[in-house]
Subunit: 340 residues, 2 copies
Amino acid sequence: MTTQRARSGRVTIHDLARESGVSVSTVSKALNDNGRMAAETRARIKRIAAEIGFRPNALARGLLSSRSFTIGLLTNDTYGRFTLPVMAGISEALVDHGVSVFLCAIEDDPALGKVHVDAMLDKQVDGIIATGKRIDRSLPVDLAGLPVPVVYAFTAGAPESVTFTADDAQGAALATAWLKKIGRRSLVHITGPEDFVSVGERASAFAREAGGNAPVLYGIWSESWGHRAIADLWSAGGRLPDGIFCGNDQIARGVIDALRERGVRVPDDVSVIGFDNWEILAEQTRPPLTTIDMNLKELGREAGLMVLALAEGRPAEPGLRKLPCKLVVRQSCGGAGTAE
Amino acid sequence: MTTQRARSGRVTIHDLARESGVSVSTVSKALNDNGRMAAETRARIKRIAAEIGFRPNALARGLLSSRSFTIGLLTNDTYGRFTLPVMAGISEALVDHGVSVFLCAIEDDPALGKVHVDAMLDKQVDGIIATGKRIDRSLPVDLAGLPVPVVYAFTAGAPESVTFTADDAQGAALATAWLKKIGRRSLVHITGPEDFVSVGERASAFAREAGGNAPVLYGIWSESWGHRAIADLWSAGGRLPDGIFCGNDQIARGVIDALRERGVRVPDDVSVIGFDNWEILAEQTRPPLTTIDMNLKELGREAGLMVLALAEGRPAEPGLRKLPCKLVVRQSCGGAGTAE
DNA sequence: AATCGATGAGAAAACGTTTTCTCATATTGA
DNA sequence: TCAATATGAGAAAACGTTTTCTCATCGATT
């Protein structure tokens, strides 16, 4: 066999044509199931292609089709707590379609953002997904008017764009309803900074579900705040809660630690429920945390399919799409499903 | 101005040539500072290029140069605790060179790994970086004999490959020396599973630095193990440690929580030092954790520059490169720098 | 036996660059 | 004034595909 490789060291369609004794056009048509040709010829070419390991050069293909089968993912979430599940969902949804994902971590640096966006456009990405840490802040880079479709996930989108986020109100209602179902009657919501839109939505839903005078305590997204909130509540001398809905898992962790230090038993005396289902934290908490999962992977999957649809010219209704959260029952609330 | 855009909607070199009244060859040479031409012509073309926003199509360029200015990053680290800093380093190092990074999360699925590797090769990546969670396990995919250079970071590499990892022994020695410098004399090392190579290296370095009979307790990488180890130590009735070196920050967290529950003060009575500098955990621990940082971002940077060097044909010595760890002083050891 | 349609396969153009080669003109030296 | 050289710029090929067009052959229909 006289396989004379091209300079690049990779098998090209010309090598395959020579090896098969046909022209490159015939090879192309054979492999793509296009054009007319003898079934036997088609099969033979396919067989030889597999034999010599021919794989078409995506650059050449993309040059012609102006589709690169590549999308860009922009994020400013350094720790990847939110981005990573979203990314996993995107990647999972798109790998089946042969699409690869450029990951660009741009922190909060507009200059860096521009560099990355330009690099992606030069590489002819079919679309861009922007992700962040909160739905009420946008990335420090202007993505309006780009020559490719842009989809936003978990970050504020441009007007008339497609944006995905978790349904905070529904998630909060789910958590609150669960506490009530467990039999808790005196509820409190310990959450993050009031200026987060998510915080407001969750607080409203909590109030709606728990009754208007159930207290909401605003603070920061840290264990220490959860800790301090419990100290405040227990020293204030008012009516003590028996069900606590926390704005995230870190706060819940602080709350549970503080309760234990006071000799309050979780879940026997007080039920605690978190938000985020940050597994590595939720599973290590003692007891493991019952919490709300925002289905970020699913969110990523939908965002991925959406940007693909837009790239292929299929139209989509612009606007904010809220995806439902789900409850993950562990042990910090008690009444695990069947009990109660 | 009669800028007639190409079908793709993007400005091409032909548009620019027409606009400038010269040929495409001249434009190309002008922009790349190649060939001979009047300085004035060159400047004019560059000016018009900037005006109409011409950016060369990286696909077309890559087709010709067989350089795509793209690399692939393979990881099986779902939570991104190790991968994310490495990724950040790689990206940071390469963005200056115009190189973008494909992120492929392959879990532990060989089939998925192959799909992603094939997709990357089709897209003509200039090189691949494989990263993982531990240096003594390899990814579930064979990267030997690929037509592009492969660099390994924090995962086991093929023979004769270039591999980067953190210097576990040096990091452990650093931690142990710090405990001694603080004035601790009775040291113990609470760490992860014995079958991790890193665990062995750190334990040896600890023994060397702390004295041969300082105990090493092997367990798992979780808070609960740190908790239980303290329970065991305190109930065993032997000599109690005043300095504890933990195999990771999670164990340290469990250790500190367990000590507090026993009324043992950290750092007054016992100093605790962690490993990993997982900031989101280390900073939230009470007291904040003094720990060893593996410089993963720097590791990523070096891996990025290495794969670039190899892609450009520059030779490199194969073998395992161990990058030094650094000490991050917070409050869990006391004696913060100046004290003692 | 002449024409028609169907079938199989190749030639060539196209995608957007870069690079090599060629050529015309301008400049220099005698 | 003529040749030799330097200079500026364009033509064309190349990269690896896909797609459209053309053409030759063959069997079937009159």
